[in-house]
Symmetry: C2
Subunit: 545 residues, 2 copies
């Protein structure tokens, strides 16, 4: 156990002692007061000012678009979702605000600068929320460059609304609020892995819902791996014979539905095809892709058929996944199956290639195929570590293995995504929320132009021990800590964690629970350590666990 | 570890070896064939016959009521739910059955003998499902005495429908099906505990959804306990000061919404007021209920105010909970706080009562109050163990502590509910699914009239380590094993478990996952033991874990 881990544990433990349930929550008025003193939003917006007034939502409270605007279908759907969220999270039947001696909010009106509904990478996600708008005390205004900024504004608005039990009304405390907000990084990702365990479509949709609450915006879909190939590829229909079972499969309609479901929530879906390693399951449909029946990966580098299949998959992917990037893997390639196959060995010799050369040429060729189909390639860091100069200049290097990769990649002029396994791998259950929070994608990168090349970061939910029964509680709340690091200004997150951070994250976790997302306790102890995905160890309030 | 546990583990382990993923699922056609050979329904219906044909659901497939029937609002809601379930669990966009060379099913028509929508205890839950109806090859018929039988029939129908990936159609294999079905016990319960941890309304609704899939029909809501008093009691509004926090509360609208949500799914809600022990949280609002500030339970037996409060709560409960029974607790009463309070001690003396007498008289008086408000009382077994002859003849004894309680209770002419903590406590994570399955409520009761007095059984999800993040995976799939014991004929369940049982339960667990219920793996190992609520230990298929 590294010493830094012990230190961070000590801090968390101190918080825990501080946050004993009863002392804190004895006397609701005190609690409400102190809750009102904090800005309980997650992730924290870039700029917040607020006042000392209070507003109740009117009985017919509604979302709408400002007069004369092109009606956005995406926004109309979102209005309906957020009406449900605002009403359901407080479990009330009716908004009874008549008779209250406080002003009411009748509407939230959205104005968009652009009518485009296309979700492009680096789309403007900024928004300005005023509750109420200075021009009208009964109307809140949400202004955004695009509908995708407006979605974030609706989420922020929903987090301002509280249920008042005595009046049975929905209220917003500390008005007027003026919130100007925008993300720090354009790429704020979460990886899911549907090869080690199949995730039903319903389960993936819940992941997407929850990502939108934390303002994450890229679902990196590690669809296939050596264990299973669950997705339909019309060009090579035998491939999904590699699924675990007949029922554990995605047809192209499923995949398209997931992409559209995500888009409607401002989330890109990046497909991954991890080649040439991590691909043994391909051969259950096409055994000729295996170096030999006994030695099943990496994919046979010597056959044109291998690249035909990759071409077919990426051609089919392009019809399903509009995202700019495709992930081509390239990690953990052990070439011994190539060297042990007489046919491949003689092919290597006749082409005057070492196995390492062949690995590089395989990756480069896959990149060329991806680019031909209109994708920019993302590759795991081994490709950069081993043959940096051969990679396409369009490559995005995906760090995972070690610290220091992004600094080297951006110095070489390539873009980078940070996913340091020591702190941003969600399957590492021993990494507590504060380590996720304290991870900085710009670490050791001081040059502004180089910093620009770090497009963001991603937390990775590898699927070895994660199926539909535990994926959400393994992801949350720890992913939220990374989400704030990726969204909020560095000036805010570099302050580190405090009681206020913990309290806000606990509040966000309880919000997820109310919305049906089974986020685990923030302070979930395994013995005396805070772990991910641990049941609460004793009775207590959601807000203190 | 008792020897029987080892034996059951050995059996499960053998199954596990038998059910290795790849060998079993290599070749989908074989798998489909063998799946078709089994009746993959859970819980198993009383009588099933089937054929060798196949039907595809027509594009416009719909549920409806037979001509001339009173339109049931409950059924209309259920039709909409089951259309969603049938379509969503197979993740398809459209039902494309044209061009298939197999007959199509256009409708399922429901006939009800009674138009009542009232959910009474022992309502007729039987149904007969014919797919297709012998009179029309394109229509399935579902006949039931009441809408609550029809709901079970819809659930069974939904479990017959499978998605065919090649034709993109929904199909039912092995038609014609004729299923005649009815429950073995009228009381098939699940306890949830919202005192040790608050469960958001959304979380309770998911529990109710999942109960309906397993044909459980009583949600025993252990609302309050010593840790927290989360529910609003209009007669004594200070009581919910005992909630963990301002936000962790149910107002009466929430509670009523839960009751109606459950009713629409054929599920009763039984409230519990656990007196005189397990009630310390009451005093956060009314400290005079405590024997002393230092000694907070049992409730002060010497004050009339105590019984006024119980009266107020039960009066308010009657407006919310229409169920015939209210649970009055009565377990684990340690009377030392009474004996240590000079005021109570002198009250006992002046009334010539031992503390034990006072405990009995407290329980009896609570029973009288409950009966005055129209409830029949349920009490935990200590009340029967300690003062059997003083209990009302209307009492239902709720076994939990030891085996043999129900045999004694029914011999004494009282009704009984079986919840043996050794096998039906879901918080006992070391109890695997097969122990749940093999638990028999009629154990050691041979007289038919006495057997009749066992109204059923209940699995208990105590909340010490269960909040919204882990309740569903702690309940499922183990609760399903008990659900089959309580629903299916004894002639079937007394056969014990077999590979077929395990396979069916795994299939049901995967069905729950597809429907968004995060049921844990059936064979979830903790080391070499099968435990409840454990993450899958390695990659694999849902159907084999």
């Amino acid at each position: 156990m590294p010493k830094t881990f012990w230190f961070s544990m000590e801090k968390v433990w101190n918080f825990c002692i501080f946050f004993q349930v009863r002392p804190l929550y004895a006397g609701f008025d005190n609690m409400r007061l102190s809750l009102n003193e904090s800005v309980l939003l997650w992730p924290m917006p870039a700029h917040v000012t607020r006042g000392k007034s209070i507003l109740a939502l009117a009985s017919g409270f509604a979302f709408g678009q400002a007069d004369g605007q092109h009606i956005s279908a995406t926004l109309t759907q979102a209005f309906s979702r957020y009406i449900d969220i605002i009403y359901e999270q407080h479990s009330l039947f009716q908004v009874v605000s008549s008779g209250l001696d406080i002003p009411v909010l009748e509407k939230l009106l959205v104005s968009l600068d652009s009518s485009t509904e296309e979700l492009e990478f680096e789309v403007d996600e900024s928004y300005t929320l005023k509750v109420p708008d200075p021009s009208n005390p009964n109307i809140a205004s949400l202004q955004a460059a695009t509908v995708y900024g407006a979605l974030h504004g609706l989420e922020t608005f929903s987090q301002l609304v509280d249920y008042d039990y005595s009046s049975r009304s929905l209220q917003i405390a500390r008005t007027p609020w003026i919130i100007e907000d925008y993300p720090r990084f354009p790429y704020r990702g979460l990886l899911i892995d549907t090869s080690r365990h199949y995730q039903p479509v319903e389960s993936i949709k819940r992941v997407i819902d929850s990502m939108s609450f934390a303002k994450l915006n890229v679902l990196h879909w590690h669809i296939v791996d050596e264990e299973a190939f669950p997705i339909e590829i019309p060009s090579y229909p035998g491939l999904w014979n590699g699924a675990y079972s007949y029922k554990e499969r995605y047809n192209i309609e499923d995949a398209s539905e997931i992409v559209e479901y995500a888009r409607a929530r401002g989330i890109h879906v990046m497909p991954e095809l991890d080649v040439p390693g991590h691909a043994a399951s391909w051969g259950l449909g096409y055994p000729q892709l295996w170096p030999s029946p006994q030695c099943n990966e990496p994919l046979d580098v010597s056959k044109e058929f291998t690249f035909d299949v990759i071409d077919g998959i990426l051609k089919d992917f392009k019809k399903i996944f509009p995202f700019k990037f495709a992930h081509l893997g390239g990690d953990e390639v052990d070439t011994s199956c190539w060297k042990n196959s007489p046919v491949i060995e003689s092919w290597l010799t006749s082409h005057n290639l070492t196995a390492q050369d062949a690995y590089a040429s395989f990756v480069i060729r896959a990149q060329e195929i991806a680019m031909k189909h209109g994708f920019e390639p993302v590759n795991w860091e081994e490709t950069f570590n081993i043959f940096p100069s051969q990679l396409s200049k369009q490559t995005v290097v995906h760090n995972w293995y070690q610290s220091g990769t992004c600094p080297r990649a951006v110095k070489a002029g390539l873009r980078c995504i940070m996913s340091d396994q020591g702190t941003w791998y969600l399957d590492h259950l021993d990494v507590p929320w504060d380590k996720f929070y304290l991870t900085e994608p710009h670490l050791d990168i001081t040059d502004a132009a180089e910093q620009e090349l770090v497009i963001g970061g991603e937390v990775c939910m590898w699927g070895e021990t994660v199926d539909a029964s535990d994926i959400l509680q393994t992801i949350w709340p720890r992913a939220a800590a990374a989400a704030e690091r990726l969204w909020s200004p560095l000036s805010m997150t570099e302050q580190g964690i405090s009681e206020e951070t913990l309290r806000r994250l606990q509040t966000f976790r309880c919000l997820l629970n109310r919305r049906g997302i089974p986020a685990a306790p923030v302070l979930s102890f395994w013995g005396t350590y805070v772990f991910g995905r641990v049941a609460p160890s004793e009775p207590g309030s959601c807000f203190s666990q």
